[in-house]
Symmetry: D2
Subunit: 214 residues, 4 copies
């Protein structure tokens, strides 16, 4: 089994992006599955293109994209991506789409096809604060999740797809307002690992449910 | 140099108290100073008695008491203890003083005599979210800090005293409302270590300022 | 023009529901439009049935459902309803669906067809804190919004539909944890009024966009 | 009976200060007591001087100073003022004292002499979110409260003194981050009124306790 996991490069004035920093801490094999790590640009459109090329090249069984959701207190596994982009700040190449659809012929929304609740449960069982989230926002994170699920729906129905938002890494909040929650990178990485394990453990049920046999 | 550091036992329904758990992770020597660790009961009056006996026995150069402030997002070094106890919940022996003074002949308040700002600055410089706090509450934490500073003021003017509140440990927040901030125990322990280093580094200035020569 | 506005009855142990209490404060005419007020039960399935009967009876030009989102600090106009119900607590008749779709043949999600941004902008321009929300949760609020948009999509494409979440009314937070945000009922009602005015002002553009002439 | 109530002028980039705006909404008589309203400058030192002149002129029975504590969710009645000023931002005349005492010969702290708990209880009984606060910060608010209590302690022991922090007024938060709590000015004013009533109702007990007969 092969699992691809992606993280964004830094944006919004931050020096690091805890998403990719945490991914770098992951081992190359988790629960018997090969882990393929990939950094994607925080740029509307391009993130999805890089992801698409990576999926074509690596042909993973599941894809988990990871992004930063500064201000959240725990790991949040996203349930839904919406066909809508509306950027409060510019991305890393200056794009700032307002009130636009992502794919004119796409569904209004797609649900994640990874086992969202099992991922949350496995993190919590291992002491990592985690919850299901029902909004990935309207910035590049949601756009990438939408691009992923749109792509899988059309071209790779046997590949599971999902998105995890991670809090600020602790170091990022030193100069932020008192009260801003954070997690240590090592805990974020652990959370990703427990999430991946849940994907692996639930893989068989998913395959059966889908009638696939890979 | 010898630094005593105390932590409370668990209270309020929590299985652990991150204060003492973090202290247990500290080495026995930090920056050349000997570290004396002590657990104190979360009981009005008794916490101070245990502390007093410990100070008499160990004759430290500085005392830092540590308690849990669930809901805070970073390490908070307390500036002031007030002569007031008012318990929203009972302590571990069922005491719940309401609207009472701690020491009838004590000052309205005492300021910490450890270098509060330097402790915060050293934690922040090392990536640990930290801030100065101007209230230690009205529960056993404030009462212990007050008891410490009252004692030092009267009997041990050459000993520095202070109090650090630590956030929930990450594991404690798994079942708490989404949004509850936390830190990993290892980060809390690191914060305590950087705080102690700041006390040591500022020891000479303090001694000079006080005209003491120990 | 006729605008129907609905509010839930109290739930979750609250004595009142600020949604319906605020609606009761609204005048019967706003900006030349007739306002039809309706209370709906906080019960999965039944809320939608009551709404459906009301729409059939009153044939409004737009429908705005209103619910309480305790913990939010301002008025939030929902952008999207998802085909998913997952109840953390039971509704007022003891139903607690977990991990279920709302309509087997419905879309994964529907976007509101009222002018969400204009409603937010008009509230803000008049001093009412407001923002666009991208999740109406997974309780009866989201279910009612979904039921509304599903119904309009199939049977009443000329009727605009949307959902507004309101904060706790101030009185509700007196015994809640310090820090819980709230608004006064009179301000919530004002917010609803400015939202309705934005719907009215944007009605023509919407009609043109849809090719309808009512 | 005569009660003086003061509010600061705007600071920190805000166009209004809800403290004084709310005071302006108060009637000139509350519960049979004459209300003397006074605006004070948000300037270290000067605020206290203006207050001192006002007390000399009006000879009130009680003085309540009011300030803004942006970010708090309810009315907070301050218990204690500390002999410490440490300004994160400059005051309205550019002063920014760091790490300084307010009065070299003053106590480390003074407790409010108004009935703090009764004031909170009366607000809550009337639907206004309120709580006791144990820190008035280290800016001009704390400095004025300290100056007031220092003055009363030395020169007017028969006059009660206290301080109330109020949240942002609702209009102030429209452009602030989502989640910033606020209250309407009318509710803030109501809160002040219920606080004043509690001061009046508890006046006799206080006088007896002090052995005064005015």
């Amino acid at each position: 089994m092969k699992i691809m996991i992606t993280g964004f490069d830094p944006f919004g004035g931050e020096a690091v992006n805890p998403a990719y920093e945490a991914i770098r801490l992951l081992p190359d094999e988790i629960g018997g599955a090969q882990i393929v790590k990939m950094e994607v640009p925080t740029v509307f459109g391009k993130a999805g293109e890089v992801l698409k090329a990576g999926i074509r090249e690596h042909q993973p069984d599941a894809v988990i994209c990871v992004g930063q959701a500064g201000g959240r207190s725990g790991m949040s596994v996203e349930k839904v991506a919406i066909n809508f982009q509306d950027a409060r700040i510019a991305d890393n190449e200056g794009n700032q789409p307002i009130d636009q659809v992502i794919e004119a012929d796409g569904q209004t929304a797609y649900f994640a096809t990874v086992p969202v609740k099992a991922m949350v449960a496995n993190m919590r069982a291992n002491g990592i604060p985690a919850f299901v989230s029902y909004t990935a926002g309207t910035f590049v994170c949601n756009e990438l999740m939408y691009a992923l699920l749109y792509l899988l729906d059309r071209s790779y129905p046997h590949i599971r797809g999902g998105f995890i938002h991670v809090p600020f890494a602790m170091e990022q909040t030193v100069d932020k307002p008192n009260g801003t929650p954070a997690m240590q990178l090592s805990a974020i990485a652990k959370g990703l690992e427990y999430s991946i394990l849940a994907v692996i453990e639930n893989q068989e049920d998913i395959s059966l449910a889908m009638g696939t046999t890979h």
